[in-house]
Symmetry: none
Subunit: 124 residues, 4 copies
DNA sequence: GTGGTCTAGACCACC
DNA sequence: GTGGTCTAGACCACT
């Protein structure tokens, strides 16, 4: 499991940061099917956050089909088909992209300018 | 003054929605220098929100140099030079763009793919 | 009568700015005894402010003995003895100075440092 | 935390009094880095003022970099380097001093007289 | 009329 | 428990 970075001062709530980073690792196949997530208590200790906060993140992951829970055993990465992964990924990207484009258009930015900016900043 | 749209259910606080839309109109020169904003009370009635919520939005606008207020008179659009407008605009765009790019990179999206998507969606 | 400068955006209310500058000119003998102040209407036009605002300033001046009103004629500078002028001046200075000193002490500034600063900035 | 004194009758708004006194304690290192400020509710009770008034003071402190807030946790004194503290202090002193000097000059007071007065009153 | 400040409640998300 | 936001009133000084 790749390292997780949590920020106390960020505007994003901690449970959301946890959710985002883990779901992303699952989509990127960095966590394989049936990989056991750390127990809620272990994770709470490791990240020095409240058990409740971890529980909330794990719950969200389960609700969105990223993991499944075996009572008394723990939580494991779901068996996502490539198609499902692709679908979740594309859906996330397109949803965000459409919103972003709306924003840039409202600021009066040209399509060409945005593409310029992206070329400029993407590799840095 | 172009119409303002506020959503009660949005995650964005109301005062922030007000701030965003008005500052945008100022940057786009839709509101000229010294244009009088509606009075706090008038705006509160019009948008059916509390006086304090409007006040907070107006306050933020003043703190960031978009408007100036004359007690007993009202609030007016600041005299922003083209250079200042440009600077504020670019700063907003670049700040958001960098965050967005980080996000897309973390999802493993290629630069070319993003540009493809933008070309596809920008004109719709 | 020396020129008067009023600022709309200042934190000081306009009537107070008027009062301060005129009372000062009287204390400095720039306006002699029985000098006629402009009429309220004239002053309002000249300074482009409301008649009420001028009235308030003139009222304060009268209340503090700087001018006297002759109904139907106008307002005139009072006959202040040198002693009275001196007393008003010293009282103003000492009152402010004591408050200022308290402030600087609370910021932990040494007596010597303040004197240094004054020597440095007074002539600029 | 040293005691705070608030005056209902002062011309200064309550939130400003709070802001001034706390920012001063931070600049004087009476409150160390990461020191937890009392919660908004606690402070409101203690000073017998509204929650919103405390909030406004805390907000100003955050806007000016004196404290940082962690939602759900509380507000804490920022980690200010000695250089930053010095800069804030000097900026406050010089800003006020320049205004004071202007005032004394407008009253026709000599540099030497002011220094005399300061020597006389500073230690009392 | 205007903005500036303040009160005493309230609901929400987060920890 | 915490801070973030919001409401519906109120009083004040200034124009």
């Amino acid at each position: 499991m790749k390292s997780i970075k949590l920020s106390n001062t960020s505007k994003e709530p901690i449970y959301k940061q946890l959710y985002d980073q883990i779901s992303l690792q699952i989509l990127n196949r960095e966590l394989p099917t049936d990989f056991p997530l750390p127990s809620i208590r272990t994770a709470a200790k490791e990240f020095r956050i409240s058990i409740i906060t971890v529980k909330k993140a794990w719950e969200e992951l389960e609700n969105n089909g990223y993991i499944y829970t075996v009572p008394g055993k723990g939580c494991f990465v779901s068996n996502l088909s490539n198609m499902e992964v692709e679908k979740k990924l594309v859906s996330q990207i397109v949803t965000k992209l459409k919103k972003d484009i709306e924003y840039y258009k409202s600021l009066g930015v040209d399509k060409e300018d945005i593409i310029e900016y992206i070329k400029k900043y993407y590799d840095s």
